[in-house]
């Protein structure tokens, strides 16, 4: 397959493996000595573990250090984990904080420069150039998504429309009139836009849209196909989290064989989420990240809760940076139903496979008489509505059968009316767990 290959920073993105490791070791030592002198939380962690930064001889030695978790960030709310005085900090961002206090992160001027560079890398990898008009439909605010993509686009020289989230009809009007060519939003909002276009009779092929950069929530390959078909675009994935930096930690090239992880700025490990043990290369497990160049908010062995796998072979595009598989869900999104691990993304895959079924669904987990039950509510649309009861019931039976095979646990499928499941313009809430454990 011959695809156009554009590389933003060839020296960094195509560095030989051994050189990457040497650079990582040097930067890791610098980061460890920075936090050991500036951040009380890490001073205490080093003391407890009996391992001092000076003891670090190889990258593998990192596993002697304890993890950093969201809980550590909450305990040090708001600025306790910062490694520089506030006068060095030029930007504050924050996570949504759906459970308890939000987490606060800071950036120095140099951190913003790195962030901008890393976003420019993955946007270039996805084919964005200075000719593009980038339509950013992430919410501008404390959330890192919009600003990250905004600065990356400007670095490339593209024209940015700082649209922000919501107001779908206006988004479409601007997309038509301003000739947006690159769309930035969550994949579920991408589908909301496709739905609205269909409703308004807008042919996506009449738009200038050619590429979509989707992130901020896990999504499936089937969802990619649907976004590509319904919006007439190339859909690429990117990954990031505010605790580490925001978008730009990893992003796909046009070969779509995993997201290139910026290993010159982050060190990645894959661990067993239950035991914390580092898993051998190629294993599926929880991604743990250590920042290597951050000044304001360095993170040592941060548990991302995202489940993935890393591939260290060189990509067809020529980049040597490890490729991170699409996240399979989060350890905290994972449902344990009758003792079986279930990820909402698995259910999404099955619903897509059954022809014509869009992923407007919600999982309802309950417990009756000490038995877990899983109900999947699926919104009916014209493709899966039949005038004959026999066919309608057949659809339900087929869906239930396929879900049971894939999940390894039985599920009841309930058809509900269109738009009866609550829609979010941003991240989709897929699970309602009513179990009182």
């Amino acid at each position: 397959m011959s695809l156009p290959v554009n590389i933003w920073n060839r020296d960094a993105e195509c560095l030989p493996r051994e050189a990457i490791r040497q650079l990582q070791l040097k930067r890791l030592q610098e980061t460890l000595s920075l936090v050991a002198s500036k951040v009380p939380c890490y001073q205490a962690k080093f003391k407890d573990s009996g391992f001092q930064p000076a003891d670090l001889q190889s990258l593998e030695d990192l596993r002697h250090l304890p993890f950093t978790t969201k809980e550590d960030l909450r305990m040090n709310y708001p600025y306790g984990m910062f490694a520089v005085p506030m006068r060095e900090v030029v930007r504050i961002h924050s996570s949504s904080g759906t459970t308890g206090k939000p987490t606060v992160v800071g950036y120095t001027k140099a951190d913003i420069k790195t962030w901008t560079e890393l976003v420019a890398r993955f946007m270039t990898a996805a084919g964005v150039t200075r000719e593009d008009i980038v339509h950013i439909a992430f919410g501008y605010g404390l959330f890192t998504g919009a600003f990250g993509l905004h600065y990356g686009s400007e670095a490339i020289g593209a024209s940015v429309i700082p649209m922000s989230g919501g107001n779908t009809d206006k988004q479409l009007m601007i997309m038509q009139d301003y000739r947006s060519s690159a769309l930035v939003c969550t994949p579920s909002y991408g589908l909301t836009l496709a739905d609205r276009m269909e409703k308004q009779g807008i042919d996506p092929r009449s738009l200038a849209l050619r590429v979509g950069l989707f992130g901020a929530e896990p999504w499936s390959e089937q969802m990619r196909r649907e976004l590509e078909q319904r919006l007439g675009i190339i859909a690429t994935d990117n990954y990031g989290l505010s605790e580490i930096m925001g978008p730009g930690v990893a992003g796909e090239c046009l070969f779509k064989q995993g997201m290139h992880l910026a290993e010159d700025h982050f060190l990645a490990e894959i661990i067993d989420p239950d035991t914390g043990a580092v898993l051998p290369e190629g294993s599926v497990g929880e991604l743990v990240l250590t920042s290597l160049t951050k000044q304001a908010f360095p993170m040592i062995r941060y548990r991302t809760r995202d489940i993935t796998r890393l591939d260290y072979t060189v990509c067809e595009c020529g980049r040597t940076l490890a490729r991170m598989e699409k996240t399979r869900g989060r350890t905290d999104d994972m449902l344990i139903i009758k003792g079986v691990n279930v990820f909402p993304t698995q259910i999404e895959e099955v619903l897509f496979q059954i022809e014509g079924c869009e992923p407007h669904y919600q999982l309802i987990v309950d417990r009756e008489n000490n038995m877990d039950s899983l109900e999947i509510q699926v919104e009916v649309n014209e493709n899966i509505f039949f005038d004959e009861m026999k066919q309608q019931r057949q659809f339900v039976v087929q869906a239930e059968k396929r879900l049971a095979t894939v999940l390894g646990v039985s599920a009841k499928v309930k058809l509900v009316e269109p738009e009866s499941i609550k829609r979010h313009e941003g991240k989709a809430v897929r699970v309602i767990d009513r179990r009182q454990l």
Partner: protein
């Protein structure tokens, strides 16, 4: 000869049926015949109305999932055994009835049966050949 029937997906929860009839009533659409097939979770409401195009439009605007199917209407003498002769013709010609529902005409002499077949053209041919009169569409939508 074929009659347009509207099918609507409804969840099995209170007030849904009334909502649909209210939407149609407000749009000035008259319901001629109806049947409801249901399960514990959902139902399929089938309607024959005087203006199916308009009904489809207003229901879709209210975000209902709607489809149109072709059915036929047959007049059956409102006497014991009236239906049997028709069903026998269909059986002899191996035509399957997917579902059917009936109502009595205002004059009271005939019952009207609405049929949905797996193969509507074969069914029409079989019935016509055996002298059964299929009601014209206007007859049913203007009852």
């Amino acid at each position: 000869m074929k009659v347009e029937q509207i099918s609507i997906f409804i969840e099995n929860k209170s007030g849904r049926l009334a909502e649909i009839t209210a939407i149609l009533g407000k749009a000035g659409i008259n319901i001629r015949a109806l049947s409801l097939a249901d399960t514990s979770d959902f139902g399929i409401l089938r309607l024959i109305v005087d203006d199916s195009e308009k009904a489809l439009k207003v229901l879709k605007e209210q975000r209902f999932t709607v489809s149109i199917t072709n059915v036929i209407g047959v007049a059956v003498p409102d006497t014991p055994g009236g239906l049997t002769s028709i069903l026998q013709i269909l059986d002899n010609n191996s035509v399957n009835v997917e579902y059917m529902y009936a109502f009595v005409e205002r004059s009271g002499d005939n019952a009207v049966i609405i049929f949905r077949f797996d193969n509507i053209d074969e069914a029409i041919a079989a019935l016509t050949k055996n002298g059964i009169k299929i009601l014209p569409s206007e007859h049913i939508t203007s009852i």
